[in-house]
């Protein structure tokens, strides 16, 4: 502990340089934690998916729709217990930058299949009875200040829904009891959207409840078999695979985000290492003086390495603190794509360990050089 003051004083020698190094580590750790949070959010959605729900889409793409007549055929498939459907609405709330998920759903069946959507019974009743009613997640309500009874107007975002704005009344604020559903979305009556749709009776995707998760593959194959060689061929997957395929629309996110994190961390390591090397070079005489006073080379090593470690750790603490403050559903609107976004404790720990690793590696070579300094040669440099 008695050397801590010495380490801190040394780090404050060039305040600007130390600050820039700390900030570079902070930004690297922030990016790492934030990108991990995005990945974890996607994975959490997939992990929380129900094993008793399977999703049927058009085989060509999620962007294309299929007729409601598929519903009866899917319902009649052995193993299917219940069925619901939904459409992506894609409306604009005041400004295109106010992006959040809006889904036209068959309310009764949807709420039956998704018990994760938790509603007050009275409010649920009001929603079911109001054709232009909608429910919004508590996360979304917090962002835009929505309250029960508020009017929401959405401009049409997809031409198939005509040109007139859609007016809604908020009938309920829902909470979620699992990461399969996010709390920043809006749900409303499919019939309301359909009655003004230029293409009537079209569904984005069906969700079927199956009785036995072990038979999910067989049931999915049976459903797809029914529509094979038709104009509306389907592809049915488990909800988990559906979530994963949704994510894969963005490409190999894991590899992309991992590569970005690695590049940032490595470049920060070079920055921190260079700073420490410069710092030691400038202090050659001081180190020689300390050695003359009797400081053993091991203590010199620890002092220099400790300085790098301290700067990096402070950067790490700032980075994870910033990530915790910014990357959470209350602050960051992920548009409903990442329901469970947030920097968890494990990411905080990994971020801090990363900063420790950067500090250790950055300080290793300068600390070794400093500890092996020949006193007489170092003193002669200024004499």
């Amino acid at each position: 502990m008695k050397f801590l003051g010495l380490v801190m004083k040394s780090a404050r020698r060039s305040k600007r340089r130390t600050l820039l190094t700390v900030m570079s580590v902070a930004i690297a750790v922030f990016l790492f934690a934030a990108l991990r949070a995005v990945l974890d959010g996607f994975n959490a959605s997939a992990e929380a998916s129900s094993s008793t729900r399977i999703v049927t889409l058009r085989s060509t793409s999620l962007m294309f729709q299929m007729p409601t007549s598929h519903a009866e055929a899917i319902k009649a498939t052995p193993g299917v217990q219940d069925l619901t459907w939904a459409n992506w609405f894609g409306g604009i709330y005041k400004d295109p930058k106010n992006f959040f998920g809006q889904f036209a759903i068959d309310p009764e069946s949807y709420l039956r299949l998704y018990p994760e959507i938790v509603l007050d019974p009275e409010e649920q009743k009001a929603f079911l009875e109001d054709r232009t009613g909608c429910i919004v997640g508590d996360g979304l309500a917090k962002i835009y200040g929505f309250k029960v009874g508020d009017k929401i107007t959405l401009q049409v975002g997809i031409p198939v829904y005509g040109q007139r704005d859609f007016d809604f009344t908020v009938r309920a604020i829902y909470r979620t009891s699992g990461a399969a559903v996010d709390n920043q979305s809006m749900f409303f009556h499919w019939k309301y959207a359909d009655e003004r749709s230029l293409l009537k009776g079209q569904v984005g995707w069906f969700i079927a409840q199956i009785s036995n998760p072990a038979q999910a593959t067989q049931v999915a194959q049976a459903i797809d078999q029914k529509f094979a060689n038709s104009s509306y061929e389907t592809k049915t997957d488990t909800e988990r695979e559906f979530q994963s395929s949704f994510v894969s629309m963005f490409g190999n996110l894991s590899l992309l985000l991992g590569s970005i994190s690695l590049a940032v961390v490595i470049s920060t390591l070079f920055v921190a290492g260079n700073t420490m090397a410069m710092s030691v070079r400038e202090r050659t005489t001081e180190i020689a003086v300390m050695r003359t006073l009797g400081f053993p080379s091991s203590t010199i090593f620890l002092l220099v390495a400790g300085e790098g470690l301290m700067m990096s750790l402070i950067g790490g603490i700032l980075g994870v603190g910033l990530a915790r403050a910014i990357v959470n559903p209350n602050f960051l609107n992920a548009g409903g794509f990442i329901p469970a976004i947030g920097v968890n404790n494990m990411n905080v720990l990994v971020g801090l360990m990363l900063s420790v690793l950067i500090g250790l590696l950055a300080g290793l070579i300068p600390a070794t050089v400093a500890s092996r300094l020949k006193i007489v040669d170092a003193l002669r440099q200024v004499a």
Binding site: K2, K9, R13, E286, V289, T292, G294, P296, I375, L379
Partner: protein, 229 residues
């Protein structure tokens, strides 16, 4: 028994495979409480001799005994510990750590001891008091004059109460007045506190303060003089 004994000490450096002799079979003895001045022209080997005595350099041949310790055979780690206990070194350019206050600079060698914070404070304030800078403990080196910086450096050298004080041209960077104050201080440390001091100097006025003088030339001892004070 003499405090310091050098027996046939030689030192040479290698530069591009060429061996350059700096000291050649120097043998001297210094008694405890002596104030020895080392004189000689540039390149005569006096600073090298001082470095060998401080244990920051090793002889190529010969043996150096200080007190009961044969320092030429000590390992690097043992030598560092020995320096911390027995040597106080005063540099020509003071070599204070600029980011530390006068107090912290003087406290530096005490960080290697097991003294408590309060004990360290007492020691530091005593040392600063001896050099007459007890009121400058919170000043940084840049806030001190050259003479004051050198006195802080002397406080740092004496704070551990070392066996031997080594000074490498301690007045070489000072004006005449400050140099006089520093030399008076060294003389006081020698006479009042019985410190054994070895001082390298070019300055004949500085040399006059020593009790004995050794003259080196081309790495060999050419003359030994007793100075009447």
């Amino acid at each position: 028994m003499a405090l310091i004994e050098l027996r046939d000490v030689s030192k040479s450096y290698k530069r591009d495979a060429i061996e350059i002799p700096v000291l050649d079979r120097v043998s001297i003895t210094v008694d405890a409480g002596d104030f020895l001045g080392l004189m000689g022209p540039s390149g005569s080997g006096k600073s090298t001799l001082l470095n060998l005595l401080a244990g920051i350099d090793r002889p190529s041949r010969g043996a150096i005994r200080i007190g009961d310790t044969e320092i030429s055979t000590l390992s690097e780690r043992s030598l560092a510990g020995w320096r911390a206990r027995h040597i106080g070194f005063i540099f020509q350019l003071y070599n204070l750590i600029p980011v530390l206050t006068a107090f912290e600079n003087v406290e530096l060698p005490l960080l290697l001891t097991n003294l408590s914070k309060k004990q360290r404070r007492d020691h530091v304030m005593t040392a600063l008091g001896i050099v007459g800078l007890g009121d400058r403990e919170k000043h940084y080196p840049r806030q001190l004059s050259g003479g004051q910086e050198q006195r802080v450096a002397i406080a740092r050298a004496i704070v551990t109460d070392p066996t031997l004080l080594l000074a490498d041209e301690p007045t070489g960077d000072l004006d005449a007045k400050s140099a006089g104050e520093v030399l008076t201080l060294l003389q006081r440390l020698n006479q009042e506190y019985k410190k054994t001091i070895i001082m390298v100097t070019h300055d004949p006025h500085a040399a006059e303060r020593a009790s004995h003088l050794l003259h080196l030339e081309k790495g060999t001892l050419v003359e030994q003089t007793a100075v009447g004070r």
